[in-house]
């Protein structure tokens, strides 16, 4: 139950982003409106994912998730404020700097908390879903920040490939850990840490 609310909210926001793209192609809205709308969708996504991060428990580390959540909520509020009130060019530039700052702070705090992040433990379906939503969001958020700051460049594709390689590596590592944690009869060993 606790995981479904943010997952549904995140996918609804992604549907809104797709709808904005479709509306642009159909000529119902202009590029400026679409860009502003996408910025608001990204801000709302940061708010939703950040708020529910400590409940989704993808990392199984309360301090890491709480700090990450707080940073994302702050970034989400900044995105929403900028894309609502600021001129579009300024909103894109400033939000990208805020976005990079947020990602840097999250990376720093998670590195700081690396020892408390448990890659072992129950790697259940809900945790897989939480991890997928978190990575999907981080991918969209990081890509948006890069595009806002540098524009659409060919090397962005390489960054995307690198992101997915990191994602697959982490999932592989998690599955390996899960195999190690499980006892021969398949039950989970809670005492293995």
């Amino acid at each position: 139950m606790k995981i479904w609310k943010p997952v549904i909210a995140f996918f609804c926001l992604m549907l809104v982003a797709i709808a904005l793209g479709v509306a642009l192609r159909m000529g119902l809205i202009d590029t400026a409106v679409m860009r502003r709308g996408i910025g608001l969708v990204i801000g709302a996504s940061a708010l939703v994912v950040g708020n529910y991060l400590p409940k989704m428990r993808p990392l199984k580390s309360a301090p890491a998730e709480r700090i990450g959540g707080l940073i994302l909520v702050a970034a989400g509020i900044a995105f929403l404020t900028l894309f609502t009130f600021a001129p579009l060019d300024q909103a894109r530039r400033v939000s990208s700097i805020i976005g990079f700052g947020a990602l840097f702070l999250i990376a720093l705090s998670w590195l700081w908390q690396a020892r408390s992040i448990r890659f072992r433990g129950a790697y259940t379906g809900s945790r897989q879903l939480a991890m997928s939503v978190l990575f999907a969001f981080l991918y969209i958020f990081a890509t948006a920040c890069i595009v806002y700051l540098f524009g659409k460049k060919p090397w962005i594709e390489w960054l995307e490939i690198g992101f997915w390689v990191a994602f697959m590596s982490l999932f592989g590592a998690l599955h390996m850990e899960q195999k190690n944690v499980c006892t021969p009869d398949g039950s989970e060993d809670h005492l293995a840490t």
């Binding site: 139950m1 606790k2 950040g50 708020n51 400590p54 409940k55 709480r66 959540g69 809670h190």
Partner: protein
Amino acid sequence: MSTVFKALSDPTRRRVLELLKSRPMSAGDLADHFDVSKPTMSAHFAVLREAGLIASEKQGKSVVYELQMSVLEDALLTFARAFGWKLESKETKPKRSTREALNR
């Protein structure tokens, strides 16, 4: 959301949340901080669990509770503290201080 407000309305439960902010704790460790019976503490844990503010995990024979608050719920708890909703009540006084008072 009403279950969250109900959970946060009680000073004992707010104190439990404050204690869990530092680290996950077993039911026994948490109960040691309060001068209340174990069934009462269990009832408090049940309310917090129902509100989704804490999660429990069985480790061996003991049940370990861990904080599971969203950022908004965390902010609500901070507001509760900031606006002077006292965390200390008759129930929340640590047992140790009671023992020390009795020894004096």
